[in-house]
Symmetry: C2
Subunit: 339 residues, 2 copies
């Protein structure tokens, strides 16, 4: 997709030069995590993530002013914060694989995963502060506020695990609030920081922020769907992985709330995990309960509704037709990627 | 000590209002770690740390301009970065006690410790960015660079653990470099950020930075000494704790390098840990080897030399007699605290 490829071309060199600042061990592990090399430091091609967040920051920057370089430090910073959160999340969730590769903690241990995540978070602010932008402090401020939201969301996500689906169910609004923190906040700030660094006025920044927040919710909905029914060959995550860990994702919480008899059966299944691992058959059964409850259809409808709301928020920015088209394309790429 | 008490009065309200921004769970755990409350959130008095870093930032600020408030955001930020590193270090080192209290990970688990540390690191930059200072971005930049150094130092410290004291000894210069990263960098930036935010010219910032770096090394030397021979009732750490974990601290590395026969015996002792825990007698024996090697005497001499070098660096700042006296008092407080 052109917008993503263009963003990669601009962001990659800047991200590389930021990572260069790290000490040799931290740099090696960060480079591995970003898909640039193997565990021994041998160069690899094309293993990185999709870099949706920096692409959004740059697209917004381009929409606000002619010079895309003005948003570049913001694009690098949001990618670093995103990757900091992945390294720490993988550690906390004890996930052993991401993008078909062993996770940082599983290769180098917990200490390295903690330190490498810390280093990326700190580096994000260093890149902003070093950009020479008149809006560097403003960018740092909104990025830190988004990081607080991200931590709040992750903290709620973990707390949800201990809640009994019958005695103490998670209301759908609470689950959506968790997702808004965990995923929405960083996409919102990716759009906003692109606008802010490019000199947009407050109401334009707010409109882009709104777009990013809605896109983030749509993204999370699709991610939850892929975590249940997904294709491992595309996502790098095992099939049924979120069911296996009995995660209270949006489709699950929706089914528990609105799924009638299938929802109640799902609740019973969730609260009685087996002694060992679930069998493939058990997991397929749970997924079919979600399907019968209507959760898959709801996720798709809700994700598309979020995208429409986000695109509507862009009205306030006075974008021309061709730029508007690129936002629509990016949103569709994010949401329709595997639907 | 007047300088520390005065700093506490200024920093505490600002630190409280920064922590207020965190979500309820993260806020509770942060408040507990900072000594403000127990694990249930019930208020406590006088359990905090000594707050040497913010005191240094504020003392420098006061020395540069009349308004101590200009350095306040920097003082809060360095205290947050220091505490972020403590929470993550306790987790990585699996230390169960700090300041006579259970550590965060040991009460709330690993996930909370990771997230709470992350939140404090991010909050440090938010406080700076939110300060309205014309030098906010500059402050963020040097704070992030110091955090990189801190991570480099911690990463080296961990790597030293795997090195055999005979086949692959750590040279003293490498050990000092590790300590400069782990402890020196944050004290250096504490002094520098106070000067920078208060509008000092570059050469004055550099002089204060130099003072902070030397003070940091002196501090680490004394800390290493306390970690071996220390008084648990004062430090909150068990006696011989660094020997028990066979840490390659400065006095140990010095003894291995310069300690003659006692040093060689210490090397043999270090490389042959017992199956279970060391007996009290074994540890006392190892400590006496360090003593006989001359390591304790070296640490004291070296710490005092560092303080003198730091105070000499202050010449370039043109401080008057009475302010100079306060720097001397602070340095002596840090270094002579238990010697």
């Amino acid at each position: 997709m052109a917008t993503l490829e263009k963003a990669r071309e601009l962001v990659d060199p800047a991200l590389h030069s930021a990572v260069e600042r790290l000490d040799p061990h931290t740099r090696l592990v960060t480079s591995y995590h970003l898909g640039w090399c193997d565990t021994e430091g041998r160069s690899l091609e094309g293993n990185g993530g999709k870099a949706i967040r920096p692409a959004l920051a740059l697209l917004v920057g381009e929409s606000v002013c002619e010079d895309p370089e003005r948003a570049l430090a913001g694009a690098v910073a949001v990618e670093l914060v995103h990757n900091f959160s992945l390294v720490h999340d993988d550690l906390m969730d004890r996930d052993t694989e991401r993008r078909h590769r062993a996770t940082v903690w599983s290769v180098w241990g917990d200490t390295t995963a903690v330190l490498v995540g810390d280093a990326m978070l700190s580096l994000a602010h260093e890149v902003l502060a070093d950009s020479g932008s008149a809006h560097a402090a403003g960018g740092s401020r909104i990025l830190a506020a988004a990081t607080r939201e991200l931590i709040r969301g992750q903290s709620l996500d973990v707390a949800f695990e201990d809640r009994d689906p019958v005695a103490d169910p998670v209301p759908l609004a609470e689950c959506a609030d968790m997702a808004a923190g965990k995923t929405g906040a960083l996409l919102a700030v990716s759009a906003e920081i692109g606008a802010l660094l490019s000199g947009a006025p407050a109401e334009v920044c707010a409109a882009y922020r709104h777009f990013g927040a809605e896109l983030g919710m749509a993204f999370q909905l699709v991610d939850d769907l892929l975590g249940i029914w997904g294709w491992p060959e595309r996502t790098g995550k095992p099939v049924f992985s979120d069911l296996r860990s009995r995660k209270k994702t949006l489709p699950v919480v929706w089914a528990l709330t609105n799924g009638g008899e299938s929802g109640r059966e799902l609740a019973r299944w969730l609260r009685t995990p087996p002694a060992g691992a679930d069998s493939e058959e058990e997991l397929r059964h749970a997924a079919s309960l979600l399907d019968r409850a209507g959760a898959r259809a709801w996720v798709i409808t809700e994700a598309r509704r979020r995208v429409r709301a986000g695109l509507a928020a862009l009205e306030a920015t006075g974008l021309d037709q061709s730029l508007r088209r690129r936002f629509t394309d990016l949103a569709h790429f994010v949401v329709e990627r595997e639907l």
